[in-house]
């Protein structure tokens, strides 16, 4: 079938152009569009803060609101982008049917629109951190590396989900349910010390949990991520992306016929 999008600068340009165009369409290039999108994680964080600050806040330290907000924004990028990517090929079925470019371009460009949204959100999070704590340490420069790992996982899952959704249209409902449940196995409003037994193991070895924990370390706590954890999650992300990409390319020709 088509050659991989990674192998061509033209396809990389196409991914960027689609991302820009679809992002502009999503928010109609308005300031309010950006703000509406950010209100979701912000309001969620406020609600979680008021509900859990008495019970869970103790282990999270004095900046419990920032703790929740950082976790929510990182988690929000994960669910929004994978949910958006799940239906990306089905929504753009006419493009899949009529053009010869590699179909992962559509999946990556869909994730690209959420990256743009995330960049805006993370800047606002930094503003909140500075407003609440008065400073951001140089360790924040590690954050792009942590985000790259999250991106690897998001891209990998997007390739699996978008391609399978062509053959099983109810996958988006199933994924929405799974991510709703997944919210509770990442430490967004609680810490690892708040859970014990098998739940603690489940949360601890969830790569998304480690990405959220490392993000808080570099953005809020002024600490470098644990090199062992960082490299383990990076290897897991790279392995998952390689598996997702190989799966997608293997069934790409069937996607085009069946969509």
């Amino acid at each position: 079938m088509s050659k991989p999008a990674f192998a061509s600068s033209h396809y990389l340009d196409l991914i960027v152009e689609f991302s820009k165009a679809w992002f502009a369409l999503k928010d109609q290039r308005s300031v309010m569009g950006f703000l509406w999108s950010f209100l979701n994680p912000l309001l969620m964080s406020i609600v979680l803060f008021f509900i859990f600050s008495q019970r869970m806040g103790a282990h999270a330290g004095s900046d419990y609101f920032l703790y929740i907000l950082t976790g929510t924004v990182i988690w929000n990028f994960f669910i929004m982008s994978t949910q958006g990517a799940t239906k990306s090929l089905v929504y753009r079925a006419n493009m899949v049917r009529n053009f010869g470019f590699p179909k992962e371009v559509i999946v990556f460009a869909t994730v690209g629109t959420f990256i743009m949204q995330f960049l805006f959100e993370i800047v606002v999070v930094m503003v909140f951190i500075i407003a609440f704590t008065g400073t951001v340490t140089p360790y924040a420069l590690f954050f792009p590396l942590v985000f790259v790992i999250e991106l690897l996982i998001v891209l990998a899952l997007s390739l699996f989900l978008s391609s399978i959704c062509v053959f099983a249209r109810d996958l988006d409902h199933i994924w929405n349910l799974l991510t709703r449940m997944g919210f509770f196995i990442v430490p967004i409003f609680y810490t690892l010390d708040d859970v014990s037994g098998p739940i603690n193991t489940l949360v601890r070895y969830n790569p998304l949990s480690q990405i959220i924990i490392m993000s808080r370390q570099v953005l809020m706590e002024g600490a470098a991520p644990d090199p062992l954890v960082f490299s383990s999650v990076l290897i897991a992300g790279l392995g998952l992306l390689a598996a997702g990409y190989s799966f997608f390319k293997r069934i790409e020709h069937r996607i085009v016929e069946r969509i």
Partner: protein, 244 residues
């Protein structure tokens, strides 16, 4: 120099869906190995050769397999059997409006659709004037595409596809629906051999159009090539086909 396109024994089978696409069906299929879908052959043993600069008209009834053949040629779908050798840069324009965004401006759409058609950013900038001039949409450059008529869409898309300057241009019923002004302009473009040595494959139900511009025609029916050769002969055979 050999042909730019050669199809040898190309067949294409599709499976018809009989039930809703759900996870339950996938799991059941994996567990039982059952596949109750019916098969249909959209192309059967197609042989076709196209030389550089040659123009071929593809004729046949609805559902004959013309669009499937174009999609196989463009590498969008894989043949079930046979081989496709394409030794050229090919641009396909199979469906009006696909790849364009109604809420973006004409200018944004030129950039986006130009890239889909395989042009780089620099090439689009360099050929912008030619695209705008040929489409005749200069005064609408900053208007959203939704304000344009479908005929204008077509003018724009064709102008961009033409400026991508492919070795092989593949058009599916592209002159249907456009206004007379644009049809004349596009026809003049074909007539003047403005393709600069490019080859062309196009489908049309307008036999007069095929006769006027193509030295060779291919009649396809039920996925099989019924006749191919000099346009007049093929059209004459097509005209004598039994009804029904």
């Amino acid at each position: 120099m050999g042909p730019i396109l050669r199809l040898r024994g190309v067949s294409k089978m599709f499976r018809l869906e009989t039930e809703a696409r759900t996870m339950y069906r996938i799991i059941r299929k994996l567990a039982t190995g059952e596949d109750e879908r019916k098969s249909i052959w959209a192309l059967k043993d197609v042989d076709l050769t196209l030389d550089r600069g040659e123009k071929i008209g593809l004729i046949g009834g609805n559902g004959a397999g013309k669009t499937t053949l174009l999609r196989v040629i463009l590498g969008i779908i894989r043949p079930t059997a046979g081989t496709v050798e394409l030794n050229a840069k090919a641009t396909g324009f199979l469906s009006l409006g696909v790849g364009m965004e109604r809420d973006l401006s004409v200018l944004d759409n030129i950039n986006l659709f130009g890239m889909i058609m395989g042009m780089g950013k620099d090439q689009i900038t360099e050929r912008m004037d030619a695209i705008v001039e040929f489409s005749g949409l200069g005064e609408y450059l900053h208007s959203p595409l939704r304000d344009l008529s479908s005929g204008m869409y077509q003018r724009l898309a064709f102008s961009i596809a033409k400026e991508s300057r492919p070795d092989l241009l593949v058009l599916d019923e592209i002159l249907m629906g456009g206004d007379i002004w644009f049809q004349k302009k596009a026809l003049r473009f074909f007539e003047d051999n403005d393709l600069e040595g490019s080859s062309l494959i196009f489908t049309s139900h307008d036999l007069g159009l095929i006769e006027r511009f193509c030295e060779k025609a291919v009649w396809i029916e039920g996925g099989k090539i019924m006749a191919q050769g000099p346009t007049e002969e093929v059209i004459s055979m097509y005209g004598r086909r039994p009804e029904g």
